[in-house]
Symmetry: C2
Subunit: 231 residues, 2 copies
Amino acid sequence: MRLVIAKCSVDYAGRLSAHLPLATRLLMLKADGSLLVHSDGGSYKPLNWMSPPCTIAMSEPSDEQREFGITELWTVTQGKTADLLIVSIHEVLHDSAHELGIDPGLQKDGVEAHLQKLLAEQIELLGEGHRLVRREYMTAIGPVDILATDAAGRSVAVELKRRGDIDGVEQLTRYLELMNRDPRLAPVQGVFAAQEIKPQARTLAEDRGIRCLVLDYDAMRGIDNADERLF
Amino acid sequence: MRLVIAKCSVDYAGRLSAHLPLATRLLMLKADGSLLVHSDGGSYKPLNWMSPPCTIAMSEPSDEQREFGITELWTVTQGKTADLLIVSIHEVLHDSAHELGIDPGLQKDGVEAHLQKLLAEQIELLGEGHRLVRREYMTAIGPVDILATDAAGRSVAVELKRRGDIDGVEQLTRYLELMNRDPRLAPVQGVFAAQEIKPQARTLAEDRGIRCLVLDYDAMRGIDNADERLF
DNA sequence: ATGTCAATGTCGCGA
DNA sequence: TCGCGACGTTGACAT
């Protein structure tokens, strides 16, 4: 990845026409050839960009362009759509390149968030006398979905998944290992909760002393709805 | 804007839960307090982010976290939604800060793009014998919407607007001034084309020898549709 | 590869 | 400020 801070103007011609007047911006060149033009505000969306696959050609400006203060021209083209992005650079204030390597990518879950909310509200599904400590209990290696206490006041760490696979058990195992080293929490009981738990995952979990809990999403949602109707 | 290249893991808890395993990434801190986490590929969307308004707290890791290799902790919170983003930094490979100032912002037009496409296809609307040279003809100060030639082979530069205002005439004037200094193009005739041209803009344009052309968008679209039905 | 649908959507408009 | 619709949408999942 190459990072350039430059005074530049930008023109885009494709599905629409767009122009960025002269200003100082960040130009981010990614390894796949894509280019992002970012300002110092707004949301995560760049002011302008070119998505991969695309190719960037850096060229010298014509005498005329040089007269207008342009020192460098970047022409970004996309083969498929014939989109065109032109960056007219007037002054480079910073330029650095960095080796990042491929990214393992984002792990996310949307239903998990709802399940988590529901289970936090219906915490006794874990067993009688259980009480919620907090959701997203943060540890050094990431947030544990739910931290609770059982009837005897012992810590219970819950890992929630839509589909309970071996990965989830491994994840919970790492959390438990870490949390059991914290004298304020130890001993911590693990609960692997999911709508559906694969046999392999169940075997692994139980072998490690982790309790498995199959959640009925619809029933939980139903109770949730009933509550909403009552209050 | 502060740019940090760092080996880090990232956790997000908000509408959903998400986790980024340890890897080298770009952390972009914008002036408004927002944070973007970018990898070296993919589209313009960051791997993870926190939108403004939000506040970033940098803190020292606990002994336990330090044991896991974490050297720095960034905790990003959003007041309104209680979203939480935690960046666990293991190693900083680059760190630089830059003053960008406020950005004048993007100028774009959706209907203009369609008008441009239609006029390029129906170029004789400019007058008999006119031929298209190209759309988005690039100059040092930005792209001219349409460059064409008249029946005598002379250059014609067209500025397109949905609503023809004085701004558009000024813009075209700048293009014409520049293009008329190019011996390959000069002399260049200007045409100010819009669905609707304000009297003030028409007066200014004609005073400068720029021809005004009112476009019937619906009729042009109708011809376009007819073509589509024929072929 | 293609189509459909949700999104931590974001963004811009108008009431 | 809120509601609504478009987006150079992007991204995930199903066919």
